[in-house]
Each structure stands twice: as structure tokens, then as C-alpha cells.
């Protein structure tokens, strides 16, 4: 069923009785050509592009809970392509371009809102680093603009510009950045994949990988054994657990990241802003809640909930940037399990086991990557060669000394 304005009007006049489910709930088949483990944004996008763009058939997405219950439904929804390094920036810019066409592509309102992102700087050294980053972005075809204090004041008059310790000196803006309705991304890709014949199997946890003579044969699941030509892991924070089923140890630690939303307010925050003297990012949802977050808690965790010191830290950073935030009440907070890699950058690659592929290590920045991750992973699955924007995301790059360390902090996942 195609969604359109006309359709909404027709349904409104006929009591909304014509809307069907957006995707099927099929029984698992005995085997598939492609089994994708994980019904998050990346898994569903991979299935969609594999079916639609690469014309592949007999594809299943296996999700242990319900689709969109993982990080894709827990993130702070920020999209941007303001990276510095060569291995990253072309990939994230490709992703941003895919976001720009996503709603037409999927015939689904994902509320892609290019309201702009502004990274503030508070010192001369930070300005120089941002200038360099902005130039790297422009060289890779992205947009970037350095704003001075007056320009920022015009748009965000309520920031604490004269903060004694961290006065705002300017900012790097990417006007094409913004936010996307996260759940709608999962649902839109699910609906698109389903309409191209992909089976989305929920409540179907992968509990074992059947490997014979160095090649994958299929997966054991909570809904029985499913044979597979190719198996593609795409489980974000659960990456180490799933790959352990094939005795593969990963350059990844799982950490908890918390997010927060205030009560609904009238429109105050026109774009996404980030504080440069701490780790704090904030935007306003279309319902009016201020959505914000900061650092990961910093210790290994699979708990999907964090601790109070991080809450305090995030709120302090928020208050240092937007004093008015103190008047808003916190409505909800939650956590998600991040697949923190050893250099802060992701992996999209095959493994040494024939037919077993791996996608993970997204840290807390994988939402913006969803379309490109899906496209590049589908490209790898369909052609066994990396997509041109994802050639650096190899699993063995640590052995070869080819880390992509944006922050330059080394093999310390909780610092990326």
C-alpha cells in the first residue's frame, strides 16, 4: 500500500479501516540465501538494499525481541557528516546524502529534519581543530561553515556566552545535519524490505552458528534451525556475544550510554547544538521535549541502564551551556548498549569463516550511519567486495596498523 496525503484524507473519511499492517509476520522458512542477525536500523537497512538494489531473494532478518527495540529506538537521533579522517568522512557524507532521499525512497515519513548541527568551540586551539575539520569536510563534498559569536547569538541567544570558564568563541556548523525520527527509520526500512520479499522474523534469537569445514551452514535460533548461504551479524551492542558463537574475539567492548528527555516545551531550540568544553548534545523533538545526552558511563555493561554520576555530569554540562535548562523537568531517561571499538570507528567486513560477515563497532554514532551501513553491508554481501566508501572498515586493521582513530586516544574504548 502506497502512503500519500490523498490516502490519509481517504482513510480519515472512511474511519481509518483501510490501513493494513506495514509488514508481514511470516513463519521461518527452512533456509534462506541470506540471514541477517539483528533487526535494528542497520540490519533492516541491509535487508532492504540487498533486496531492492542488489535484487537478491530469500532474505531473512532475525530479531531476538521486536524490531527497533535496540539502539535504533534508543538514540538521540542526530545525523551529521562532520568527521575528519579519510576512512570516515566519505562514508558519513554518503550516509547523509542517502538520508536526504530516504523518505521518497521508502515512501515513509521518517521526519528527516535538516535543522543543522552546531559544534561550539571555547578556545583558540579548539577553533584551529574545527577549521581543519571543516576543511576536511568540504574536501569530501560535505558542507561546513565556521560561525562567529554574533552569528551564534542571533540563533541561540540563550546560551551562556560569557561563562567564566568556558566562554563561547564560535562554532562549526553543518547546516545539512539534523535529526530523524528514529523509530520511523526502523519501521520504514522494515516495511520497504518486507515489500521486496524479505522475511522479518521477530522473537527469533540466534543462539548458535552452525559452521562446517570453515564455512557457515546456518543458525540455531529460539524458533529452530534455519539454514543459510550467508550469515550477516548486525547486532550492535551484542556483537561480541554473537561472534563468540563462532569463537571470534572482537576489538570491541560493550558500554552503556544514557539519554534524557525533558517535558514538552514550546519551540526553543531550532537546531542541534553541542558543547565543546564537556560532552553534551541537545536538540528539541517535534513533540517539544529537549533530547540530550553526554558521555558513556565508562565501564563494560550490557545492562541497558546507567548510573547517577553520569546523570549528574551530563546535567552539569547542560547547565554550563544552557542555564535555562535548569527550569525544565526531566521526563525520562534510559540507556543503550554500545559496541565501542578500539579506535572508535566501525567494522563492515567478512570473517575468516566462509559466508560469515560482520557489521559492528558503531560506538554511539551509528544512527547517522544507518543508510550507508545498510547499503555498504548489502554491497559486501552481494558482491563480496567492499563498497567504495567503506574500504577502511576492515576487521584486521588493528593488526595492520590502519586504525581510524578520530579522537586520537588509542585502544581505550571508553575514551572514544
Amino acid at each position: 500500500m502506497k502512503y500519500s496525503g490523498l490516502r490519509v484524507i481517504k482513510e480519515a473519511l472512511t474511519g481509518h479501516r483501510g490501513w493494513g499492517p506495514a509488514w508481514r509476520d511470516p513463519e521461518p522458512q527452512k533456509s534462506y540465501d541470506y540471514v541477517i542477525i539483528g533487526g535494528g536500523g542497520h540490519g533492516l537497512a541491509t535487508a532492504y538494499y540487498l533486496a531492492k538494489h542488489f535484487g537478491k531473494k530469500r532474505i531473512a532478518v532475525l530479531e531476538k525481541g521486536w524490531i527497533g527495540g535496540g539502539n535504533v529506538g534508543r538514540n538521540t537521533t542526530i545525523i551529521r557528516s562532520n568527521y575528519l579522517l579519510d576512512g570516515n568522512e566519505p562514508f558519513y557524507e554518503y550516509s547523509l546524502k542517502l538520508w536526504e532521499g530516504l523518505e521518497q525512497e521508502l515512501n515513509y515519513n521518517a521526519m528527516v529534519s535538516q535543522r543543522g548541527i552546531l559544534n561550539l568551540y571555547h578556545s583558540d586551539g579548539q577553533r584551529d581543530a574545527f577549521v581543519r575539520r571543516g576543511n576536511a569536510m568540504i574536501l569530501n563534498g560535505a558542507d561546513a561553515e565556521l560561525l562567529d559569536v554574533d552569528q551564534i547569538r542571533a540563533r541561540y541567544p540563550f546560551l551562556d556566552f560569557e561563562n567564566a570558564r568556558f566562554p563561547i568563541k564560535g562554532g562549526l556548523a553543518q547546516h545539512r545535519g539534523g535529526t530523524v525520527r528514529h523509530d520511523a527509520v526502523a519501521w520504514g526500512y522494515a516495511r520497504g524490505a518486507d515489500s521486496h520479499g524479505v522475511d522479518i522474523l521477530q522473537n527469533c534469537e540466534v543462539t548458535g552458528l552452525r559452521i562446517e569445514a570453515g564455512a557457515i551452514r546456518g543458525v540455531e535460533t529460539s524458533r529452530g534451525y534455519i539454514g543459510a548461504g550467508k550469515v550477516a551479524s548486525c547486532v550492535a551492542g551484542s556483537s561480541s556475544r554473537v561472534m563468540a558463537l563462532a569463537d571470534i574475539r572482537l576489538p570491541i567492548e560493550s558500554h552503556v550510554l544514557q539519554a534524557f528527555v525533558s517535558e514538552g516545551l514550546k519551540p526553543v531550540l531550532p537546531g542541534v547544538i553541542t558543547f565543546g568544553a564537556g560532552h553534551f548534545y541537545c536538540s528539541q523533538s517535534d513533540k517539544g521535549g529537549l533530547v540530550f545526552g553526554g558521555d558513556i558511563d565508562g565501564y563494560n555493561s550490557y545492562a541497558q541502564r546507567g548510573n547517577l554520576p553520569t546523570v549528574e555530569d551530563v546535567c552539569e554540562s547542560g547547565m554550563a551551556l544552557i542555564p535555562a535548562l535548569g527550569r525544565a523537568r526531566l521526563l525520562r531517561m534510559w540507556g543503550g548498549v554500545m559496541d565501542m571499538s578500539m579506535d572508535g570507528s566501525p567494522i563492515i567486513d567478512r570473517t575468516h569463516i566462509d559466508g560469515l560477515y560482520f557489521n559492528g563497532g558503531w560506538c554511539y554514532g551509528g544512527f547517522k550511519a544507518t543508510p550507508a551501513s545498510g547499503m555498504c553491508y548489502a554491497h559486501l554481501l552481494a558482491t563480496d567486495t567492499p563498497h567504495e566508501t567503506a574500504t577502511a572498515y576492515r576487521l584486521d586493521r588493528f593488526r595492520r596498523g590502519r586504525m581510524i582513530d578520530e579522537k586520537g586516544v588509542g585502544a581505550q574504548p571508553n575514551l572514544h
Binding site: R241, R249, P251, S301, Y302, A411
Partner: protein
Amino acid sequence: MMIDHPLLGPRDAQEFTYLGDASLIDRPDWQAEDAVDQFHDYLYLRDNPAGEHRELWFHEVGDRSWLVVTRNTLTHQITSVELARDVARSRGRSK
């Protein structure tokens, strides 16, 4: 989280910084034939278990001792805390 420091008693986890898996105590022999492979695994690969995890915490704003904390990564419950020095010695690491 509260960490029951073997010398100081219960302290708030906020006083500590976190390094990671306690296997980092087992630094490979740099003269071994396969030292390159061993150091790769040591530096970059992790078991990253969901469940019991032995990990290194540094009492940065306290007595600056290193601790080996056994903690469940699913519940955050801490079941044992040892001085890293004792753990290292028991593994023949330091004199």
C-alpha cells in the same frame, strides 16, 4: 556503584577511573617468537562477556591503588574486590 576497597572500605565508584579487562595484567613476553600476534590480541581483542567480568579500576582521587573488581556486566553487581598488586603477584607478575 560502590566499590568495597580492600584497604579503605566502601568507596563511591566515582572516585575511580576504569581501565578495562583485568587480562591487561598479563602482558605478553616481548621476546617471544610470536610476540607481534600476542601483543595484537593483548591490546585489541576482548572477551567482552555478558555476565561476570574481572576488570581494572584505579582509585584516582583516593589512595591511587589499582584494584581488580569482579562485577556482573548485566546487573552491575560487584562480588569481589582485590588489590591488583596481589593478583599480579599471585600470577608471578611482580616481585
